[in-house]
Symmetry: C2
Subunit: 147 residues, 2 copies
DNA sequence: CGTTAATCTGAAGTTAGGTTTATATATCGA
DNA sequence: TCGATATATAAACCTAACTTCAGATTAACG
């Protein structure tokens, strides 16, 4: 499978694929007689795993370490398990942050939609929080509760 | 309030605070006679908003635009509302990605915990997916269902 | 008042994750 | 086989978001 084909399938640019190969994220990509890369299904699977780990917030250098472990076989099973356990924590942490950000954004959406109706911020910015409608007050309290 | 104090409160480094000021993310930070910054509660509130928008995945240059709009008053209310609506979509998209990544990670945790018990990948890597325990099969199917 | 600690500025350096460019080969359809 | 594409490499370039550095000034303490 040629690099342009893999690019289309994965959505990664050709230069990114070459970059990943060069930096050891794909192991032993086959080459034709002439030297052009010949990707296999296994390479596609690896690219999928890389994409997932990237989406989970992992850095390429750490993904590379993981890929190396995969090459090394059974002796690295425990390390790989530990890595996924660690990464699960990271993802859950990121999700918490996003959830908080989402609440702030939703509160602000309400706030500015009120201002839009009024044509000015004057009223809304002076409202006492305990006069917010119930669902908004709930958001507001979650945003401002201490950790 | 001195820069070192703000640094402690926000957790941002002193150089980051100066960087934000220089790049227009904070408006009109007051200065003492001698020229040292004198942060106000309003600056702290702005830093909080910046932190939130950053956590939601927004870039500093876009946050700067938003901060400028805030300075400009009522004429930018609709723009600000539109920005939060857009940002809500972005956050929801990010959360979807994280949720997918989390499923893959949890599947892999199970996979490698099995391998760890066995001491080898030999058995687990050859199991047919429809022999996975029910909860794992559910994960597996969600991971592999097409979009 | 002196000195130690904190702050200031502009400019250069850093890291991650690519992209672009220049130049050279390879492969493919007619 | 020719000409048009595709691919290869190394090296330079790029952006975001900071950090570090050098040199100067200011503020705080005893």
């Amino acid at each position: 499978m040629q690099i342009s084909e893999v690019s289309k399938i994965t959505g990664l640019s050709i230069s990114t694929l070459r970059y990943y190969d060069k930096h050891g994220l794909l192991q032993n990509v086959q080459r034709t007689e002439g030297g052009t890369r010949d990707f296999s299904q296994r390479d596609l699977d690896n690219l999928n795993m890389i994409e997932c780990l990237k989406n989970s917030g992992m850095q390429l250098k750490d993904i590379r370490v993981f890929m190396d472990w995969c090459e090394q076989g059974d002796s690295t099973i425990e390390k790989r398990l530990a890595m996924f356990e660690e990464q699960e924590k990271n993802v859950l942490g990121e999700m918490k942050k996003l959830e908080h950000a989402l609440k702030v954004i939703q509160f602000k959406k309400w706030y500015y939609s009120q201002a839009k109706e009024d044509g000015t911020l004057d009223r809304i910015k002076n409202i006492d929080p305990n006069q917010y409608p119930e669902s908004i007050a709930a958001l507001y309290n979650e945003i401002h509760k201490e950790k």
